[in-house]
Subunit: 118 residues, 2 copies
DNA sequence: TCTTGTGCATAGAAGATCTATGTACATAGC
DNA sequence: GCTATGTACATAGATCTTCTATGCACAAGA
């Protein structure tokens, strides 16, 4: 999968801010691997969020390095080699923290929007 | 106001992603100026979000350059010179767009969290 | 006159992102 | 058995952003 650009895109900073909690929460449901995670994000967002593999892998590597997720190589039924990721204990905690932070900021925005009658 | 660091902070990327819509929505309620915006953010977040002036002004300059907000120098009652900002028409539109984008991403996260039983 | 608080400003270090590009192999079609 | 396509992972480094550190100015109070 080598895709480029797209129109009406979600701003980069928003994608960046949501990427980590989204990956963690997907893995919280059970182990998965790169391509499947991208497909899952697309599915969850009704096709509105389309990640590229090039942006996901660095995130996975970073999360692994931070000890939030664990990875193992395994062979899929179809004969392909895949790197399966699963949530580590630290990742579970991080997910809870990040969710709280996201909710906090969302609440602040909601209040401000309300008062501005957006 | 020259403040440094803080503990248990909201991640930078989340602050960055929320900063623009937050500033726009504050200005949507009526014109304001740098220091007051910072105070308003602190108030809205119950003290949990504390922006520094150093991070806000570049954002204001960028938004002005993008034509989303307008600025004028004026003297406050206290004799101080202040730069008052107000929302431009383009800013109103941008705010609506950004709100929709934030809500979309929030919904995706919410779905994923729900399924993961976070 | 010193300190504190208000108020705006910016250079540039530091850091993050992600595009472009690469490899590899399975499968299907011809 | 050749080619195209899709799956799957990987990463260098250009590019862009962010924000810390620092500066200026002035009012007011001590």
């Amino acid at each position: 999968m080598h895709k480029t650009s797209s129109s009406e895109a979600i701003p980069k900073d928003l994608v960046a801010a949501s990427a980590t909690p989204l990956v963690l929460s997907i893995l919280a449901k059970g182990e998965s691997y790169g391509y499947a995670i991208i497909a899952r994000v697309k599915e969850l967002s009704d096709g509105k969020l389309e990640w590229t593999d090039g942006m996901l892998y660095p995130i996975l590597h970073r999360l692994e390095e931070q000890g939030l997720i664990r990875a193992t190589w395994r062979n899929a039924e179809n004969g392909r080699r895949r790197r399966y990721y699963s949530l580590a204990a630290a990742g579970k905690k991080a997910l809870a923290t990040q969710r709280a932070q996201w909710d906090l900021v969302s609440a602040v925005l909601a209040t401000s929007w309300e008062q501005a009658h957006v």
